[in-house]
Symmetry: C2
Subunit: 343 residues, 2 copies
DNA sequence: AAGCATATTGCAATCGATTGCAATATGTCC
DNA sequence: GGACATATTGCAATCGATTGCAATATGCTT
């Protein structure tokens, strides 16, 4: 039998019940040591008895802090799809937990929401103290605008070193290089790249792909780079098409995401191509499913946990008057069946 | 060259600049027809010039409406994992879009956040006007409490007909029945059920499983129901174990989620069991990857789009003084390779 | 020209909590 | 007993917008 308050209690109600002023009540509830211990205790007890909760709106108005961070997930302008890649979900979960741990709420915005002017909507209107933008996408001018407007924000994406706002992201170039070098080690000679290089993260992966080839004395062929959206379907269709085209014979594929890789795998298997014997395949992200497809997928694992924590840490530091710096996170190659030929 | 406001503009600034009172300015900005058209225009122009945005906090305080909905994703008490199933991501995206369309913001809370008392934290504190709870999980008392507290909320889960709060969800029982009937039609005689029936949604699926067997004159064996978490890993391990145990020979598996099914598939293939010839497999959810594993996965498709829209519609109706009703959404069997034996 | 309806605008209270500063009470020292 | 330091508490302003009601202006009627 919980007491069901007829109407919401306010601080003034609590103060009256405790026989103190609102200021004392307010201080008592916030454990301000200047208030006498007994008074403090009494006020807190009464507040608890009446299930009093501070009105977050009033507090925000007065303190000029919302204690809320807006997380914006950029959607692909082309596919119009919001969050689809399981990878996003991973990092989103980490960010959510970390924000909570730090006492912040998370306002989530996806796809169409972002038609809005983020700065106006979230920051100028005081809905949020700062922004986390996930996925730079294809060079978004809106991100650039943010940096001119004094809005505290951090981006998950590709730190190229040239942007003038803080970007946290995996070392995509290094990851791709590891992956492609691995393919070369497994004996691949002609490796296709599946991914849309208009996304800056993917562009970095493509650079890593080229690095690896060049290090092995192989000249990258432009026609082996095939623009592919972030979906299994796109990977499937692109691979089918590649197999029918006059690309010549491939013996390796590096896909810019695991979802793409799985689509590619499907197409290959349908065509009776043996993976990894005839063609070795490597993805990127290490989503949960990668270990459980057949053959299991070799991939580059991003440290989403570190990434999420870092995004939050940098943003909060920035909000609290400090600086936020770009940072590259190390990645790791996870070798599985799709590329291991057992020499 | 955007004008960079030295400090944030307030309504009073705009009023002063326009030479009108704050009340007139406020009304003008909200397109109140009582204000003279010219005045209205002038105020709006000035506001636009100075990139004025209404302070959402102040408005909320005054109007007593946050125009925010808290979405709570229940995590599994056991695995301690937050959002992992791709299915959640789907429905979350739909809800986000729909809330945006309706002019609401979305406060997302996962896993550890939910240690809090939701009612206090989100509703009593006026952070949100209502709650959407996703995943009833294993009979959560906290959901029950909400319904006693007059908080507007809706749940995505299993509408059993006995709960006294609005639940929107797929017709899990019907879906399972379709799936298992399909397996029987394909000639399966002994079908295992992989899923944790302590989750009410899964319980409904188990009932549907039993319905189908009984309709075919088969007596369900309790030992063929194997509790399994919502992950590919759990499906994999459980299936491995099942194959080594003295369950006798199975020729069909109905998994309570696609992720579980994919784990199961992995285990089967590793053991050289031919899918679907020796053992047919059906999942639930129709996540994006299901069409792209090999063999592709037969599954029961949930209408996440309708579900998300309905959740939002019902909640807003409830907030606006109306009623919210539980509702069952129809599902659809998607037949793919993992179960089709071509008779 | 007085009377009254209608169109616009402004005054001032209000939403609920926080906080700088002043006020009071208590204790200590010489 | 007076002076002064310290511990507690309260007053009142403030955050920024919204809104009921009153005030003023304008136009029309007879």
């Amino acid at each position: 039998m919980t007491i069901k308050p007829a109407k919401t209690m306010t601080l003034s109600d609590i103060a009256r019940l405790a026989g103190v002023s609102e200021s004392t009540a307010s201080r008592a509830l916030r454990d301000n040591p200047v208030i006498n211990a007994q008074t403090r205790q009494k006020v807190q007890q009464i507040a608890a008895d009446h299930q009093f909760k501070v009105n977050a709106t009033a507090r925000s108005l007065r303190t000029q802090k919302s204690h809320t961070i807006a997380v914006i997930i950029l959607f692909d302008a082309k596919t119009q799809q919001a969050i689809t890649d399981p990878f996003l979900l991973d990092i989103l979960g980490v960010i959510a937990d970390e924000l909570t741990r730090q006492g912040y709420d998370m306002l989530l915005s996806t796809s169409k929401t972002t038609d809005k002017d983020w700065r106006s909507y979230y920051f100028d209107s005081k809905r949020a103290d700062g922004l986390i933008v996930i996925g730079q996408g294809e060079h978004d001018e809106r991100v650039e605008q943010l940096s001119n407007a004094g809005v505290p924000f951090v981006v998950w994406g590709a730190a190229t070193g040239t942007e003038h706002f803080p970007v946290i992201g995996s070392d995509n170039r290094q990851g791709a290089q590891l992956a492609v070098t691995h393919l070369l080690t497994q004996g691949c000679k002609r490796i296709a790249f599946l991914g849309d290089i208009r996304h800056s993260e993917i562009e970095m992966r493509y650079l890593g792909y080229q690095d690896a080839l060049q290090a092995a004395g192989i000249k990258p062929e432009a026609k082996l780079q095939l623009n592919t959206d972030f979906t299994a379907q796109a990977g499937y269709l692109q691979t089918q098409q590649a197999l029918f085209s006059e690309l010549g014979s491939l013996d390796g594929i590096f896909a810019a995401s695991d979802a793409i890789a799985m689509g590619a795998m499907k197409a290959l298997l349908e065509h009776g191509i043996k993976v990894p014997q005839q063609l070795a395949l490597v993805g990127f992200d290490d989503i949960a499913m990668s270990a459980y497809c057949t053959p299991s997928l070799t991939t580059v694992k991003q440290d989403t946990h570190a990434g999420g924590k870092l995004l939050v840490a940098q943003l909060l530091s920035r909000i609290n008057g400090g600086k936020a710096a770009s940072q590259l996170l190390p990645v790791k190659l996870i070798e599985r069946q799709s590329s291991l030929r057992g020499n």
